[in-house]
């Protein structure tokens, strides 16, 4: 997934859409918006970005899960199998992005990249609702995909690369 910080207006539509799409209980969220202010008046800049699970290639949450509930699904999506999850919270501690939360029903929940939609050929809910169209989702293995093209042509960064998790969300800057 690639997210264009030049276009995001921080409206949080992605948050609301995720909640209604995925029945996220009120008061919790799988994605959220961050505002970073830099500089001093009048030379100030801000970056707005929508954050969620980075579906890391080298994911500490999967590694530390004692039951195997946290696992890689096809295509590298990191998922939590709710039935297997005992809610111990080890993964919440391990995630450098604070992307997971304890669901009131006793398991840990987080972004699934809307795998149920992706399998039907649709975009994730957050991507499909974003009014500024600043989010792009696609197949990084397909050299002709829109996302590969975008990443070839734009500067991007990822979050906390020093954690060595190989995050799979790229922020266009």
């Amino acid at each position: 997934m690639a997210i264009d910080t030049r276009k995001c207006v921080g409206c949080s539509d992605c948050v609301v859409a995720c909640q209604t799409e995925n029945n996220v209980p009120v008061g919790f969220c799988r994605d959220w918006v961050v505002e970073v202010v830099d500089g001093t008046y009048p030379n100030v800049s801000i970056e707005l970005r929508s954050e969620r699970c980075n579906h890391c290639d080298n994911s500490p949450c999967v590694r530390c899960c004692p039951t195997g509930a946290s696992h890689f699904e096809d295509g590298g999506i990191v998922l939590v199998e709710h039935n297997k999850c005992i809610g111990c919270g080890a993964c919440i501690e391990a995630c450098p992005y604070d992307a997971r939360y304890s669901h009131p029903d006793g398991y840990v929940d987080k972004c699934t990249f809307c795998i149920h939609r992706v399998r039907e050929g649709k975009n994730p809910a957050c991507v499909s609702v974003c009014p500024t169209r600043c989010m792009h989702f696609g197949d990084l293995d397909d050299p002709n995909s829109e996302i590969v093209n975008i990443l070839k042509n734009r500067k991007f960064k990822s979050l906390a690369p020093e954690a060595g998790t190989k995050p799979q969300i790229f922020y266009l800057v």
Partner: protein, 747 residues
Amino acid sequence: MHTRRNFIKISSIGIGATAITGGVVKWAVGSSSSQKLSGGIKSSPIWKKFPTYCEVCFWKCAGWDYVTEDGQIQKIIGNNDDPQCNGRLCPRGTGGVGMFSDPDRLKTPLIRVSKNGEQTYREASWDEALDFIAKKMKEIAEKHGPESMALFNHGSSGKYFTHLLNAYGSNNVAAPSFAQCRGPRDTGFDLTFGESVSSPEVTDIRDTRCLVLIGSHIGENMHNGQVQEMSEAIDKGAVIITVDPRLSTAASKSKYWMPIKPSTDIALLLAWIHVLIYDDIYNKEYVAKYAEGFNELKEHVKDYTPEWAYGITTLKPELIRNTAREMANAAPSVIIHPGRHTSWYGDDVQRSRAMAILNGLLGSWGNRGGIFFKEGFKIPEFPHPEYPKPAWSWQDTLNGRYQFAKEAVTNTIIEASIPEEGKEHIIKGWIVSGTNLVVSIPLKEQLMKAMQSLDLLVVVDTMPMEITGFADVVLPECTYLERYDDLRATAHREPTLALRMPAVEPLYETKPAWWISKQIGERLGLGAFYNYTDLKEVLDWQLKQVGLSLTEMERIGVKKFARKTPVYIEPGSDHQFKTASGKIQLCAHELEAAGFDPMPKYTAHAQPEDGFYRLIYGRAPMHTFSRTANNRNLVALMPENAVWVNPQVAELWGLKKDQYVWLKNQDGVISNFSVKVRVTERIRWDSVYIVHGFGHHHKPLTYAFGRGVNDTELITSIKIDPIMGGTGMRGNFVTFIKDKPKQEAKS
């Protein structure tokens, strides 16, 4: 163990992550759909979908309500065919279901009664409530005439009550959206081009090469189509110039942020006009062909140099020149955006005129990337007898004031409701539909006086907003998700129709406004004006007149029509503007004849005294005015507002981030509640900023009660625009109270 993460993580750290340039990281999304789905992940179920258009704000995006097998509204998704939203609703629209599921909704009709000497409400049946209203309305008409009934409205429901009042014999119908909001802009553009920019605005943002925003904070005001188009313009490399004392979201995406000293915008606009004319970079061909009054304008702005403006606006002359050149380079694909909420300082029509004049000089109206010509689709009106002619109307109460008001001015209807010796026209009854007047109208004292003097005050709403506490009768309306409504006929790039139909049955005892209007009408003997049993008949009849049907619209939700007229001025055509002379009025003699300046002048406005800061207010993308502060699907995104304070000011006052303070204005009014401090470099040191719509003091709004502060209670100094009656609200100054003020200090 249940950690509750902060909902929105606002951090003020520097950029932490490093940028990696280029390169593709290998990773793939599997496409095999035969794989077993893992626990907790369901595939999309088959839901029923019903067309609607959103009512959370006035943009009215068309969408689909998805309803589950057990009758729950699961989600609302934009309609791909709707050019107003392109399949994407904004956060408020996406969370619109919270209006339906709000536990605090009005549930039954309520009638005010006196119990042991105390005023209270008791639940009433619809019949009882409607009979009561009809009886009172008849009494008012007998004593004073039907003209003494007035309506304040906002949103789709207003139409039905307008029809009721018109049928009864009154056209005293007003909406805060004129005098408290877009009125100055509409008047200023109308005086220049012969028409205004409509809603949704006819700004060609997606194809513009230069967008100039004067205090308009697109992105924080989530006017969906405009936000989408601004994003498209960013992609295409448009230059954005934002004039705002605050680094708004739009300002942060701009090539030029001009942090102007608030209240001095006209000086900047005049300097820009000066540069365009005296540097000879205005659109000469266009001006010669379509405008008149150029020589007067040239003479008028002779001395308004960037150096002159520098001393007033604090903006460097070089910056003023450079930005003027950017506009000229992009012309005619340039938009000086007219804004929307424009009632600021009392000379707002003149400021809007200056903006319109700039558009005229650059040739933007009628050109690609500027301002386009709208085209709508006419839906025939359902037949009804002719409305009786009222003996008087709101215009007759003006006594020569506000000559250029094309819509009723709320404040003058309020004035007309205050009894005074020898007053010729008096208003005795109000219906208030979908507008929380107590929060949307400044001039509290007048408003309270007026409401105390009424014989009848009916409030129709879905929520127990503050205004309901003043009503004699409260009528619970069902939400937009539970009703049919009039067709949305939009005039824009493409003419479109959109349908709203119920996704679910109304909850509780709530009813749609069309039904309420009809019930009252019939009780007043106006049955002939309601010649149908269900609004569906009206819609079907209207649609059949244009070759469509209700069944068809229920299936498609949105119907687009091909345009018949050009979007832009066609090359070589002799375009006539809608002014009397057919030309753009750079110098408005019409204004002169009425005793006003024919061209805008800069007037100095009051500045804050020591220790006070100008109160600026605005919008947040997840809230609409004061009406979403209780919506549980949205509140977690922004539960309360915060007062933005420059770090230097914070240091001076010893204010810490997230500390709660009270605000006191220049007239000694102290905010009802305290407000969180946000220390930020994003604002000038002479101003503070809060998002409008918080600080509800009505207990029945169980979530919103007491969260944040209400800007309008601190807006007690109002500068009325003499041209059209707009209430300028930006001339208020506040200071901080760090310790809890005495109870009696609270208003």
